[in-house]
């Protein structure tokens, strides 16, 4: 078990170091997010402002779409550099490869979100500081959930002939369930407690993350063996 976790962290470290050398991927994601903010502003700004609940919902929609840039190349880059067979035949459990990629995806998205979230909240005029612990927990669990889905979606594109087209086909439907919960929780943080208990939705989000991680980790060796 420990060996598996060590391998997962080693894979994540390798990907993060490679990413730090390239730099452009994280920067491209950040620029894409800013462009998305500006594009959405044309649709949702009325009389110089945006309703708080719409602005906060847009934050997750932008992060969701940004995930396309971050997660799609996770396994594609391994395939292009010819290192995928190495990962598949390495004497480590398959789930550790998946977990390593999830940690990498989470770190990459997290780095961009550190800059993105304050900018989006200022431009869209909402604050998630009403409940800082819940806001932080939501950002961490939400990003982890998207990374769990995105990494699996990236692996699922491998056998397809049109990988770039297929990634959204896999990522969007599997990530949408988590996205809906994230939007609802963030709305409640921004506009205050509503009729629905935020903790109930947060528990469902955690259950979703656990389900995605365990389902994906348990079937990942089938994906890697192909």
């Amino acid at each position: 078990m420990n060996h598996g976790f060590q391998a997962a962290f080693a894979i994540a470290k390798k990907d993060i170091v490679t990413q730090m050398r390239k730099k452009f991927e994280a920067f491209s994601m950040f620029l894409f997010a800013l462009i998305a903010v500006l594009a959405f502003s044309f649709a949702i700004v009325t009389q110089g402002s945006i309703p708080e609940e719409i602005g906060s919902a847009m934050l997750w929609v932008i992060i969701f779409f940004m995930g396309m840039f971050g997660f799609a190349p996770i396994f594609l880059s391994e395939s292009e550099t010819g290192t995928l067979p190495g990962l598949a035949t390495a004497p480590i459990p398959a789930w550790s490869v998946y977990l390593g990629k999830v940690i990498y995806g989470f770190t990459l998205m997290g780095i961009v979100e550190i800059f993105l979230v304050p900018i989006v909240s200022v431009l869209f005029g909402f604050s998630i500081l009403n409940d800082i612990p819940l806001a932080l927990a939501t950002l961490i669990i939400g990003t982890l959930d998207l990374a769990a889905v995105g990494s699996m979606a990236s692996a699922l594109t491998m056998p397809s002939e049109s990988k770039a087209t297929v990634f959204p086909l896999v990522y969007f439907p599997t990530a949408t369930s988590g996205l809906m919960l994230l939007i609802e929780i963030t709305k409640i943080i921004v506009i205050g407690p509503g009729l629905i208990s935020v903790l109930l939705i947060f528990e469902i989000l955690i259950a979703h993350l656990v389900a995605m991680l365990t389902l994906s980790a348990s079937v990942f060796h089938f994906a890697l063996s192909s």
Partner: protein, 222 residues
């Protein structure tokens, strides 16, 4: 056609006739919904059967990954297609009901929206499967997608407990919240729709298996 299949078809036809009779003649108008309650029976049963069919895709996916037998993949894909068909019926009957009750076909109710997302999600699984030409890879990866897509079914089912909704919650922990006649009609509609779905899945499985055999023969000849 085998005798068992013929008997099953006959029983399904009889139960379906009973379903039509109970829906349109036996069930009295509802206190609140009036005659519109008849749409309810065409709406709830297909919805629950669609969830069941997607559950079938999940189970077949697990079985394929476990046993490696292609018949589970073909059965899972057949279940997926029929699930999509019944989700379409659910959405259309729901739209008819919404128009008659609230005056609009679509009002972004959480159950409505999550059901449409469910339809799109499983349509994506079909499109994804079509994008893989290698048969073994299609079965393997299609099974995985069918498994990790299932949480959306659960979210669609529990959506009315998470968000404010216009959907009445008729099936609760304490049983069915409706008149006895309506409960009986719902039960018959469930049985009839399940039997129809099973026939359709069997039929689709039969055709897809035959196509698979033809494809293999062609591949062997070339």
């Amino acid at each position: 056609m085998p005798k068992n299949r013929l008997i099953f078809l006959g029983v399904t036809a009889a139960v379906s006739l009973l379903y039509v009779y109970m829906t349109w003649i036996f069930a009295p108008p509802d206190v609140n919904l009036g005659e519109l309650v008849r749409i309810f029976f065409q709406h709830v049963a297909p919805a629950l059967v669609a969830y069941g069919a997607f559950g079938g895709t999940l189970v077949c996916g697990i079985m394929y990954l476990w046993k490696g037998d292609l018949k589970y993949d073909i059965l899972g894909a057949a279940s997926l297609k029929i699930g999509l068909l019944f989700t379409t019926i659910t959405l259309l009957s729901g739209m008819m009901w919404a128009d008659a009750t609230w005056g609009v076909y679509w009002n972004w109710d959480p159950r409505e929206t999550t059901t449409l997302i469910l339809w799109v999600a499983y349509a994506c699984v079909l499109a994804y499967r079509a994008s893989i030409s290698d048969r073994e890879a299609r079965a393997q990866f299609g099974s995985i997608f069918g498994i990790i897509g299932f949480p959306m079914v659960i979210l669609s089912y529990i959506s009315i407990q998470i968000w404010d909704t216009l959907h009445p919650q008729v099936i609760t922990g304490s049983g069915l919240e409706m008149a006895a006649e309506h409960g009986m009609t719902l039960m018959v509609s469930m049985i009839a729709v399940i039997m129809i779905a099973l026939i359709l899945i069997d039929f689709t499985y039969y055709i897809d298996s035959a196509q698979e055999k033809i494809h293999r023969i062609r591949m062997a000849r070339s």
